[in-house]
């Protein structure tokens, strides 16, 4: 965005409004344009106008409303001027509900935009890309960088997805009550994926991609406002907050990875922990407890433990037992096995891990090998530990993680 010569406070206010209101402005503009590309263009125009106007006219009290008005006016102007914008394939827009005396709930257009971006008829890759682009307002090159693909590849992915939305008539509407649980799950999956990708970047020099973690947090907070009564939404928000609260302790001064067991817990973000624990409690009230509520509860037990040794491992194992029942994924089973080892000793943990060695999904997963290595090391089986660390090393491309594993190997030699 052009900001040459602009007042720094105006630039900051526009940047704030971009992070906080982009989805709101775009979603409301789509209603006028019935076209995602044109709506994006008009929303960008509104932000550019803000940069030039807010200096003289002052920053408006409600920046989102100001930006929406400008974007929608621009859309109407363009549509009037150019008959070509009478698109052959307009989005199917659910009409705004006529306010009735029954007091039908007001649906925020952002919710329609979210459910359109995360429609299960789109590939998960495309859902993630559209969500970052349309809801978070990231540029195509930023989205491409986040997922380590080239910009042309990402541009093609986004274009293809938008084309499918238009030509297959994926509607711009909120799901019916019957569809809602399945569709919400698909949205939460996307937000969780953005978070996990940011929390431990699959490759590259940084362990944490703070930009993605922050976007995931923004998205989860937005969902909490839009779907306030959904325990799974509250659970995901709690999980993101509780996991992120430990980030200050995860990296040593020199950028090296510090394991949970060795982290300086005084560096953890206490305010975030207390907010997250509160939310986790609310999320657990859902019956049966949802996947993200249980994951948040596990994170909460870690966050509240005064030290690694004083962690309530029995509690963590029982939460994992509940999680495996509703979400029987090999990765969850792996985490459960690790917790079992911590509750009952490395030998028990090792046999729990070995029970998972035939899981095809874990074959390329570095944590199975590194967890085995850890238990073997604690049992004094140095040679076997060395082999297992070597396997883990062969499976990760994250430089910080590689560095950590090489450190462990050196310790075994020493």
């Amino acid at each position: 965005m052009e900001g040459a010569g602009a007042d720094p406070s105006v630039v900051a206010a526009v940047a704030d409004a971009h992070r906080g209101e982009w989805a709101f402005v775009l979603a409301a503009t789509v209603r006028v344009t019935a076209d995602l590309d044109l709506a994006e263009e008009c929303a960008q125009h509104a932000y550019a106008q803000a940069l030039t106007n807010w200096g003289a006219a002052g920053i408006p009290d409600r920046p989102g409303a100001w930006l929406t008005t400008v974007a929608r006016r621009q859309a109407i102007d363009l549509l009037r001027r150019e008959a070509t914008f009478q698109r052959a394939l307009p989005l199917l827009i659910e009409p705004e509900p006529v306010p009735t005396d029954e007091g039908s709930p007001v649906v925020d257009d952002r919710l329609r935009l979210i459910f359109t971006c995360c429609h299960p008829a789109l590939s998960v890759d495309a859902q993630v890309a559209l969500t970052l682009r349309l809801l978070c307002g990231l540029s195509t090159s930023e989205v491409a960088r986040s997922f380590l693909v080239s910009e042309p590849t990402m541009a093609a992915r986004i274009t293809r997805a938008k084309k499918k939305i238009a030509s297959a008539h994926i509607p711009y509407r909120t799901p019916t009550a019957r569809e809602l649980p399945e569709r919400t799950a698909s949205v939460l999956h996307v937000v969780h994926l953005v978070f996990t990708t940011g929390h431990t970047a699959p490759a590259g020099a940084e362990l944490v991609r703070h930009d993605l973690v922050r976007r995931a947090l923004d998205l989860a907070r937005m969902l909490r406002v839009l779907l306030p009564d959904d325990p799974e939404v509250i659970g995901l928000l709690a999980l993101i907050i509780l996991t992120g609260a430990r980030d200050p302790g995860r990296l040593a001064e020199d950028g090296r990875l510090v394991l949970l067991s060795d982290q300086d817990r005084t560096r953890w973000n206490r305010a975030a922990i207390s907010e997250g624990v509160d939310l986790a409690r609310q999320a657990l009230l859902g019956r049966p407890p949802s996947r993200f509520a249980l994951m948040a509860a596990i994170a909460a037990v870690h966050d509240e433990a005064p030290t690694w040794d004083d962690t309530d491992w029995a509690q963590i194992v029982s939460l994992y037992d509940a999680l495996v029942r509703i979400w029987p994924s090999p990765v969850v089973a792996l985490n459960r096995a690790v917790a079992v080892g911590l509750a009952e000793g490395p030998a028990v943990g090792l046999s729990a891990l070995d029970a998972l060695s035939d899981e095809p999904q874990l074959a390329g997963y570095p944590y199975l090998a590194s967890s085995r290595a850890d238990f073997l090391r604690r049992m004094g089986s140095v040679e076997e530990a060395r082999v297992a660390y070597g396997e883990a090393l062969a499976l990760t491309d994250n430089l910080v993680e590689r560095d950590f594993l090489q450190g462990r190997l050196r310790e075994l030699d020493g």
């Binding site: 052959a88 199917l92 008829a121 030509s167 297959a168 008539h169 994926i170 569809e179």
Partner: protein
């Protein structure tokens, strides 16, 4: 409203070797499906097996060759289709989920292209 073609894919070999009662039951399922979605249905047919198919390919010289068999030899073959009218993809998918199919069978939902 938009139109969608629901393409039904199934394992021909398995269907051919199944007991006659299985085929009859499947037919009854289709009758039920057609009754339930009568308002949306614009057409549909079952196809003879791919063993009866003939494919015409254009050659590089502008001519064409005629060959025995289906265009693509796959385990799952196109066995039939329905043409439906729906408000949007969600509605079309809801109808497609009801299409009777064998275990492991699949229904592909394709929007009909409109030229304007």
């Amino acid at each position: 409203m938009s139109e969608y073609l629901l393409l039904i894919f199934n394992d021909e070999a398995a269907a051919a070797s199944a007991a006659p009662a299985v085929g009859t039951a499947m037919l009854e399922e289709h009758v039920k499906f057609q009754q339930k979605h009568a308002d949306a249905l614009r057409g549909g047919n079952a196809l003879q097996p791919t063993a009866t198919a003939t494919t015409i390919r254009s050659g590089s010289d502008g001519g064409s060759t005629v060959t025995d068999g289906a265009f693509a030899e796959t385990k799952e073959a196109l066995g039939g289709y329905y043409l439906v009218e729906a408000a949007d993809l969600d509605q079309a998918l809801a109808i497609a989920k009801d299409v009777p199919r064998d275990d492991g069978g699949a229904v592909e939902v394709r929007p009909i292209r409109v030229f304007s």
